[in-house]
Amino acid sequence: MMATRRSVLAATAGLPLLAAAPARAQRQPGVLRFGLSSFPPSIQPWVNTGTAAATVKLLIYRGLVSFAPDGSLRGELAETWHNETPTSWVFRLRENAVFQNGDRVTSEDIRWNLEQIAAERSTAFYRAQAQGIARIETPDARTIRIVTAEPMVTLPLWFASYHMMMVSPRSPTAAGALPIGAGPFVLRSQERGVSLDLVRFDRYYKPGLPRLRGIRMIAYADENLRVAALQAGDVDLIEYVPWQAMASIEADPRLRLDATDGPFMYLTFNASRPPLSDARVRRAIAHAIRREDIVKAAFFGRGAPLEGLPIPPGSPFHDPELAAGWRYDPARARALLAEAGVPNGFSTTILSTAQYGMHKDTAEVVQQHLAAVGIQAELRLPDWPTRVTLGNRGQFDIAVMGTTTENNDPDGMSNLLDGSLPASFVRSAGLRIPRIEELLAQGRSEFDEARRRAIYAELQRVALAEVPIVGLAWRSQGYAMVPEVRGFRAMPGALNFFSGITLEEASLG
């Protein structure tokens, strides 16, 4: 039979439709499909390789303690813990905690982990803290005593971090091999750059958990495609919901949004030269910016103004008056500039990045508000790696930054405020405020809750006057899911990136 041109045309036109019918992924019973924001570059337990990696680490590994969904500390490998003296903490391990190779978790294993983290060639995130441990004692297989050089009220918080996971000393050591954890899921396989398949660990120490048979994690780097994948039914749950999609997800009866304010945007300064070396100028900048505009422009209204230090409203250390200490007041900003000897403002630069919309949009709003009080700022918007390098080297005047604190304790702000720490893009350059350094140290060593509150109230007052950073806006951090996903919760405030830990209780109903 001879092919006519019409039959060729008809056959060609029909080709794309061949794939149309049952194209969507079939859901396997009890297996949750999780849309990650990126494929984790590494899931090594002690190194910080980003929040997507953190979610995976929270499935495979466990530390001594963790954060409960309400933000409080709860036991994991350790069932109890207490401080014997201001410099000594004792952790009592669970009887039934085992690594995924079947070995029981012992106090010697914990000691080995801490020694590796503190080792000279370690790249662990908590290396400096681990090196501050003076002595580790293991009186028996279930008890570990950690003695620090200085009193350390925040020590249990270190052990709740997803950078402080405990692994088996008998883990394989071959290049690229993953250490053996004691978490609720085991990594069964991975397709590099594409997906990770995890299955339930049947000997997990919490009875009845995990509820899921497995989790398939699929990386979607494009935020819009991540949302499309959820809406198309390719995945059950996604992280990093883009702000512009939150309203449509809320309006969709087939989906549910769980979002909390946690990460935040702020300004840092290079205070090594005038006029930004003058606290009055920095305070003028803090009063010159209407934060609502940032929330609206950068986060589609999904967030809240931040007019003080980043201590979230639910925290016992939150003081409503101090939290509004840098409220929008352009007249006050102009007066402060005049007081500092620059009544007509000055020219400066704002370092941000064009790579992330929220950083660029925030910088643009700040630029406009500074112009309104006479400060002419030129935007510098390189790619993110260049922005990080310029920040670390102090090659900027004003910089826009976005991050979250390590946890909800105010000591988590140390990284942002402590000028005695080495230069970093997350804090101001050339700016040491001795009183803040003293108060941070006091807060870390004070065990009495009421006295700690007084210390951090004083710290906020000093910060409002000296302006080591300028808080701009809380931003909403969201997860979206199909209604069948139960038990998963977005954790509050700075703990939002710990939300992966609740997957041990998640189920598909």
Binding site: F125, R127, V194
Partner: protein
Amino acid sequence: MLAWTVRRLLISLLLIWAVATVVFTLIHLVPGDPAELLLSAGGVAPDPAAVAELRERLGLDRPIAEQYASFLGGVVRGDLGRSIVDDHPVAEEILLRLPRTLELIGAGALLAVLIGIPVGTEAALRRGTLFDRATGATAALLLAVPIFVVGTLLVLVFAQWLRWMPAGGYVPLAADPWRHLTLLTMPALAVAKGLVAVVFRMTRTAVLDTLSRDFVRTARAKGLSPSRILVRHVLRNAIIPVLTVLALHMGSLLGGTVLVEFVFNWPGMSTPLLKAVEARDYPMVVGIVLTISILFVALNLVMDLGYAALDPRIRHA
């Protein structure tokens, strides 16, 4: 001919060396320290001691000339090094990713041929009709609309609204052939978008040109059926320039599928290249760019040798 071939080969090797050197130099000149960036993920301040330790471990503390010499030595031995980010061998990553990109380009080209040649032929046969004008306008539109717009529209309509297709992603062919093909369909259509227009236009022009040739008139005079004339005489002659242009476009797609791979989450070569630039993963960037360059140079070399074999004037020029 032998001397000419050897000279061409040497020029090709020189080109590859030049590309490797330029890329190596440029990526090292761009601000951004891989060790610092690696430990700064999530916007946290890395411990400077850990950064220094990592720099030493990665060999980034060595003088740039020493790093360059060690890189060149590796290339000569066929070793492209290991990723700074996850210590994975660069060559393995390329071997994993390159076939996916080639598959995407191949599928796009196949669609372009399957759609562009018949429609182009039909337009030529119906020259000046509404069909000709409509398909011509569609081709112009396809060329004008950016690929990310088409990609996003495909996702919106077929994945989000109709829920017929997966929004994007990848499953290996061996693991699930049907799902692999369904995931390939939309990105292949997006890649085919521009190619279809090119193939359509080239086909239309070539068929029109061939139709006016004497041998077609002779075939008609002999009483051959119109479809036999079209398939045996017109298309056979018209298709050669179409395939030449298609091959040239496919070569340029090797580094040009970035947006399609990103929009559809297709894990080909472009995504790791972008991520590697972002992370200043020097060995990965240089390895991928070098591979693309070698493919380009090899393609050109084969074409040069082919032309030279056919036309002695070229090798004696």
